[in-house]
Symmetry: D4
Subunit: 229 residues, 8 copies
């Protein structure tokens, strides 16, 4: 079966190709990963089916492999791969503990795109007192953009966007049940936000949130860098 | 056409019959109002079509009439009607200015059921600093139950429920547009709340929120009253 | 992984923190339970995945453990934990036998918040004659608030709210199939109720129904108590 | 424009062709009505746009015309048309006063198919005490089938089907607002009924409910008639 | 756990109580079945989970047991149970072979209610020539009512209702995939039927279709019987 | 405001650019029409708002103008415009009279693309006997492709596709009400068709159905033509 | 259980009967396959459940069997079966690698109907540069119709239809997650296409896309053939 | 009626308060505008009801007023208001001419936040050749972020994001009809994008797209500015 992984994407877009594991056979993933390792020195795989993880780790035991079990994500590096550091600053906040895997997926991608990522987890609206101090610290530290992962009511991104002078990316998660469950209420609430400066990605799309945040942060960092020269 | 307005409802339920104006001819509303005035001394009409308002005011000019234009609600009292005062304390909060008509409808019903109602309007999550002080005052004043009206993202009821030790009733409003508009996102977000002690009524159902809040407050007030005897 | 269970919630809200088991690893649940036991003497866990039950019972065998198998809920008490009794009176009714687990979850939470709970099960609208006598007894006994759990057509809460002078909380359950199945028809029917004084929580949200009912009942009980002093 | 009204339907089906007015020009309706009058002696039109009513009444002033303003239905008879009487017995119940127009549309069709129709209006679940006596009378009178029109929560058809030994046809109406409004909750609740022997037609489909009920009643009546010979 | 199977339903409604197996433990089903066998001599169980079948057959090996594996339905008879025969005539048609289990469930219930059932299977609209002759025979044989089971496009019930002078009950099945799959398109298409005299039950609700059809047929048969005396 | 009507589309695609009138100011439509008349000698406008029709007819009174009032479509020709004739044969069938405007829109576009169009109107599934003879004639006449317009149950396209050896294009129309109304049930039923060789376009998209049918018929005609040379 | 596989369909429709495996028992599939092999020399089965594949291969080991594991499709030929070749030319394009199984299913059916199929895979809109050259080649080669399989955003069919002068059939696939997942966004986007000449089939309906494409291509080929004689 | 327009938002968020006109009385809008003019020197109003425009222009004739008729937006400046210029560079692209009003609303907000905005309009996917050259120019000019407004299929943002190394914000518009109409398909397709670096706002939310883009561009510009000092 013919596949054309987009090895040139990083060059063109400043964002790496990511292999979507969920809908592929393990053998197919392995072949695509070898292709990307050859052309770019790194293969990132998201949404791995649990049974694909062990065979992949076995296949690439000679490589450096970074696995996020809960987020079902994996990065494989060629021995000589050197991850760039751009100076971009990304904040990642999660509403609950159940949202952490998706937050971690976003963090991983932003890091692979060269950003420094700071996290604040489990500070949802049911107890807002937990949010205020860490958020103030995050903003003071000079973060360029903030990702907020939230399921259930999806209220946290609106609250954070109301309090922050940087762009906020809402990452709805599939946590929740009943009507509006699986992240639907969270996504809709974010789309309907009253707060300014909140844009969103699809439910559980940590990859998309991470890439968008890193594109923003890296562009700011690049301007900063030129400045400091 | 045969109608059976439930004049005995107040006796049985502690909540008055309310004539739903939207789906009735003006003549039909007038007939039903006369019926309720005869049996209970008061007629409450909700969701009046704008063109029904003037004819009703004309018909009942010999009566005391209270009209909430924006909320499209009306109460007509027999000359000798004496509204009871129960001692129940209800708080009503609105997220935006656009949610005020629905909040006012809830307030009207709770007042007609004998409660004292305190309001805080236009304190939505896009600027939470506006909420905290007035909410503290409301809680200190000894309110028995709080209604929170919100459209758009519907995030405010979750925030309030996270901060308040009394039952909170979420009243989603049909403010909002696009996907999840007309109050759908607001309602779903309230149904998915992470905060404890939040129950909801349907979109724009100020009547339902007001009755539920008053049933709670009046039961507490009744217990208080027995105490003070 | 960083978690911040809200040990102070009971103090602040009068409602305990509840660990949502469905989206957490067993190890994570155990860690959070230990945290809550330390700070509050009790850990309540809802929506346990079946495979988490045995490990939890093993881990906490030195503690008192209350398990509701069908409701997938568990409460763990420190040896010296003393559950308070508030005097609040809650009624819980179920339409079918299939709705009993969700009704039991609501009952458990209300009891953990100090209420006395009376139940009437399997009295759905397909045979209303089964409902009338027990409901009359329940109301006579002085119940402060009633929870009605129903799936399928969700008609029972409207019927009960039409007959009862106390606030009613509709608890739609995920019983049902085909269009409107999984509790969607039940929830929508409750939101559209013609009966006064019915508010709702999300599908299968026994925890939310229980907390809301207990907040109401406890506030009434507190007023009663002041009275009897 | 070519039209082929199905004049032979009554012969073939025992149910008359009905002209759906809502999506047709008045001129087109007039042409089709003339066609049906010629071939069958009667033209039934449903869902008339308000502006079509006067022109139709003008056009057919030489004929006997029966208009149901609220139901937006009209029947035109040739001077010599003789409506048959089958002996079929149909009951029609409405939950609220707002559901009466749809109930009346169903009644009209059943009468045009030769049935005798008995009605009970405004007996919804918010006050069940209004239903029990009239329903008992209806069943005692030997009704063959019952139509129950209900909007909002749609609970009444389930209650009636639980109490009646004849087939019940649920007629959801577009009364209601917010989530599940416009009859959606009512229809879904009827589809999810726990009560035996309830089938449904689409929202506001009084024509469909009337035809189905009359087909049932007429078949029973026909068997009865053969008997009495 | 308290259950109240409605043993008097047959008496009251002319339709038997049916135990919904899907949401119950096997032990609970066994207990309820014993209850119904005691009070009515027969227990009907629908939507059995596959793993409940063997234990039930074991438990009731001393009884007569009728199992419809594909329809996941079971009937258990006391040794001396005598099924009545009413003379009601029901036709059951299926569009595809995949719809046969639901058609068989409807047939089983109608038979348990005393009807004679004639079936025509696999005659869907993709090849209408297969339908016409058997349908003509069915109508000639004097059938009182027809159930049509169809998934996918749900077109067959409309076609049959267009050709038959008896009431038709549409039984949408969960056959189908993609948008409108799981029976949704089939149900909606039936609700939107252009053909007269078609009412519907929910997706896969063979029990409901069977009961409704039998109520119709039995009422006709009863009239016929009186006649032949 | 900058617009770029795609004048080269006909060259490139074999299908003309069509101006979507519904979302444009009349002045904007006039400007775009002049542009297309200059570059291609013809301007086709669809979904005209009723109030745009007169001003357009006035503006282009020196041109040949073809207006389909009911379909809200208009074609304006330069005086010297010569419509090509390709030899492609398209059949257009409508289920009801209410579907004729959409069928006419499809016919208009296919004719503008050079096809000969044969129509059969008002032959829906409620009386299939009206369909069979005209369809046989249509197929015998050598039609290359058939469009079937249907609202409500959307059953007719499946029936036609089951009987015809040429590709069939389903054109769902917004005729219908209640659940699945506005063409939703019709579209879903067509997407779920059991019949082979049916593809669909969106609700009321007569333009799309006409273009697709003409692309098919013209390609066949082109092959035929080469043959006859 | 009675089944009526439509052996005459190929004769009548020019398209073969296809057995839908997903909803049938393996034994039932085997029986139907034997029937079709007898009457037509070939049996095509789609949507096989994984556990049906081995038993079928065992049963038909004396036959030629073509299995598409990923597409879960199978064709069984009688030893002497001779597949016709019509000269029809079909192009099949996929957006991602995950869409290939559905594309392959469409290809298989078009081949079984005698067409020659050319494929271009994994050329989605995230990197359009991959599409342009192969598409130009495909069009130059004289393809009669193009199928485009795409999940996620479903954007590729619109892009291809904008660039191609032949009819395009959109085949949405169930690839995608979150809101609009499982192919819903892809299907809706295709239905809303701005590009001319795109019709669609349901999600994952490779069989339907293949049959429609082959009906078009074969009709063109037939005209070409007559020409070359 | 009490309102609290958030005059301090610009200070706190770097984004101005915007008055949502659609759900407010004209008098209320005037009062709020006066408040904002006093505190910030400027009032921005979006989604004006057509009948509010003239009264507002009359009321503020002494002020500088900028009206976007089609976008229903208005900005009122105090005589001495001086709009800042940040150096932020925003690109705005529209798919069709019908999407221009929403694109213009986004442009207006970004300009009010100090950005320079470059537009490319009417370059949808039905003719991609219109897009490529202007997009190349836009990217070369050093744009920091791109907004893409699209209705119907919503495919253009994915195409642009696939070709651009800057963050892209999808702005779905309510252009479209039938299933997925009113912008639903467009929004879902953008949420499902295969292209990296695309985030979205709700349908027709030009204000939100403009603020998010300006927050990004202004942060980059600020870094650039520091550099050039
Ligand atoms: N397959 C079925 N479809 C519809 N209703 C059913 C079915 N099986 C049982 N029922 C009814 O559903 C109700 C189940 O309620 P319960 O068993 O108390 O939870 C009973 O009243 C049954 O008569
Ligand atoms: N705004 C409202 N929201 C919810 N229920 C209402 C409202 N106004 C009236 N009702 C109730 O709805 C029912 C209307 O039924 P009817 O007027 O008979 O059609 C009455 O029982 C009213 O008490
Ligand atoms: N978790 C993810 N979320 C969204 N997009 C993804 C994710 N993982 C991979 N992708 C993208 O989805 C596309 C997968 O297409 P394909 O693998 O060819 O079927 C690639 O372009 C990936 O960059
Ligand atoms: N009735 C219609 N249905 C579908 N597409 C249409 C229709 N009328 C016009 N179009 C196309 O829709 C696009 C309109 O885009 P625009 O006018 O630029 O907003 C043009 O490419 C037209 O060819
Ligand atoms: Mg937490
Ligand atoms: Mg405000
Ligand atoms: Mg029961
Ligand atoms: Mg009433
Ligand atoms: Mg078949
Ligand atoms: Mg007709
Ligand atoms: Mg790919
Ligand atoms: Mg355009």
């Amino acid at each position: 079966i013919q596949t054309r992984p987009d090895g040139g994407r990083e060059q063109r877009k400043g964002a790496p190709e990511v292999i979507l594991g969920a809908t592929k056979e393990t053998a197919q993933i392995i072949a695509m990963a070898h292709g990307l390792l050859l052309s770019t020195g790194r293969a990132i795989i998201s949404r791995l089916r649990p049974d694909s993880i062990a065979p992949l780790q076995k296949e690439f035991q000679a490589y450096t492999v970074r696995t996020l079990e809960a987020a079902r994500a994996m990065v494989i590096y060629s021995p000589d791969y050197q991850r760039k550091s751009t100076g971009g600053q990304v904040g990642v906040i999660s509403a609950g503990t159940s949202d952490i895997p998706m937050a971690e997926e976003a963090k991983l991608i932003a890091e692979e795109m060269g950003c420094t990522v700071t996290t604040i987890y489990d500070v949802g609206v049911a107890g807002l007192h937990r949010l205020l101090a860490p958020l103030r610290d995050l903003l003071t530290s000079g973060v360029d953009v903030i990702i907020v992962a939230a399921g259930m009511d999806g209220a946290l991104p609106s609250v954070v966007a109301g309090l922050s002078p940087v762009p906020v990316i809402g990452l709805p998660t599939s946590i929740g049940y009943g009507l509006g469950g699986n992240g639907v209420a969270a996504l809709l609430s974010m789309l309907q936000t009253c707060a300014p400066g909140l844009s969103v990605v699809n439910i559980d799309n940590g990859v998309g949130a991470g890439i968008t945040a890193a594109l923003v942060a890296n562009r700011v960092a690049q301007a900063r860098e030129h400045q400091s020269q």
